[in-house]
């Protein structure tokens, strides 16, 4: 599976979204479950899946689907 697909699936699964949901536009707090609890679960799921660890600044800055992609690229993950 390509990284961008893996990334998308984590969002769909984590926030119980419909398969055809337009995830690209979502922001933190837009989706009910993307609160502080959901955010930490998302971060853990991404770390496990991509075998990496986020720095604090990146955990805080990560607030949209799109900027999450940019952040992952910083850790050398091809998206």
């Amino acid at each position: 599976m390509k990284n961008c697909e893996k990334y998308r699936n984590i969002f769909i699964e984590r926030f119980s979204l419909e398969e055809d949901f337009d995830v690209k536009k979502i922001k933190r707090y837009d989706v009910t479950d993307w609160d502080s609890v959901g955010h930490m679960m998302l971060i853990t799921a991404l770390e496990d899946s991509f075998d990496m660890m986020f720095e604090m600044e990146d955990i805080l800055a990560f607030d949209t689907y799109e900027n999450g992609i940019e952040i992952l690229k910083k850790y050398g993950i091809e998206m």
Binding site: S16, T32, D33, D35, S36, V37, G38, H39, M40, M41, I43, T44, M56, E57, I59, L60, A61
Partner: protein, 462 residues
Amino acid sequence: MFLELDQKSSNNIALIDSEGQQATYGDVVAFSQLFGTIFPLKTLIIVLNNNTVGSAMGYLAAMIERVVPLMLSATMDGELLKELTDTYHPEFLWKPMDMVQGNETVVLEKCGYALVPTGLEPYPLYEDLSLLLTTSGSTGSPKLVRHSYNNLEAQARNISAFFDAKEDDKPMVDLPINYTMGLSVLNSYLYAGATALLTGLNPISPKYWEFLKTNEATVLTNVPYYYEILKKLRFFRMDLPYLRIITQGGGKMSDELYMECAEYAKRTGKKFIPTYGQTEGSARMAYLPAELAYEKCGSIGRAIPNGKLYLINDDETVITEPDVVGEMVYEGPNVTLGYAVKGEDLILGDERHGVLKTGDMVKMDADGCFYIVGRKKRFLKLWGYRVGLDECENIIKSAFDVECACVGDDERMRIYVNSEAELDTIKKYIASKTNVNSSAFEMHYIEKLPRNDAGKILYSKL
């Protein structure tokens, strides 16, 4: 005056919020005088709280003027708010300006908040009734905890004593002040003449840390889940020289996280103080002295100053020997008056007389330190917030035509319903009604709930 607020240096700052507002002790007292002119008689108001200076000013003015505030979250579900309003008839709402509707009259404004009359006929109130809080903040259960003035004064005095609170302290008040522990931080530090740092932000927001660092917060108070987040954010490696105390309540921390907090405190010369409390005891009833944090891992410690803890058997006899499990009882001046479930209950007096059966099953070691082992009452603490199981059943049953039973632990609530098709819908519904992340709910289909001959649900079989 409430918390002797008029005895503090009037130019000292009492409140700062992350919206950029602040108020001195002088401002708080002056505003309360203005506020008082609107209330010739003791009455009930609802404060829709968002942890800002405006919200706290309304709460404090009400307390000073002996107007009774019912503290609720500004983000509370509209239907639940209506239910509480219909049940208790507040004469006014103190709410954020942006929640005021076009057809509503504003009689007073301050720091982004407005006082709006409801037109409802108030119920008679018990003279010593000071404050009302919900037992289960998130489910909006109409059951309220009735506090006296002495409850709050005693709690503020005792807590500021064991935290050694000082005028130059700046505690973070990020737990909502409509929640007993958040309110207790505000009260106890204002009693000490300190500066409360109010915010509705949470630690995954960069602005939260900016607020904490710019103001050099000296005390953090939060639920175990908060420290899980902090751990993930590598908080234990951060350099925060001004921070003096980290303290925890609202449920049991994992031993691992507990030790991490204790080690962090030891390494950096700070204090880690685990506490135990509940709304019925005006927040804290026990705490573990910082110097015992290491050797008494997982303990809630001993009673707070001027309080007493002991255990009883099923037949209510007192347990004297160590390491025997019994229900924990607390006695102290912070034990609240009792509950209210309807408007007529607001006239009731003291029903507990300083004695509270906590509903927690506890054992005591030979050194007199208490350890929680279980819970008698039907509620969970999900992410540190109390969620009533019976209330959740009622919420589900009133919206769906199903049989329903809720059980679980503080990690997860298990919900059993007899409608396979609606599992997902119900999960989303209960998450939105309780304002709890849906990952805390595990849905199960069950054809028929196990019941005894009398028709009572047998929860132990689920």
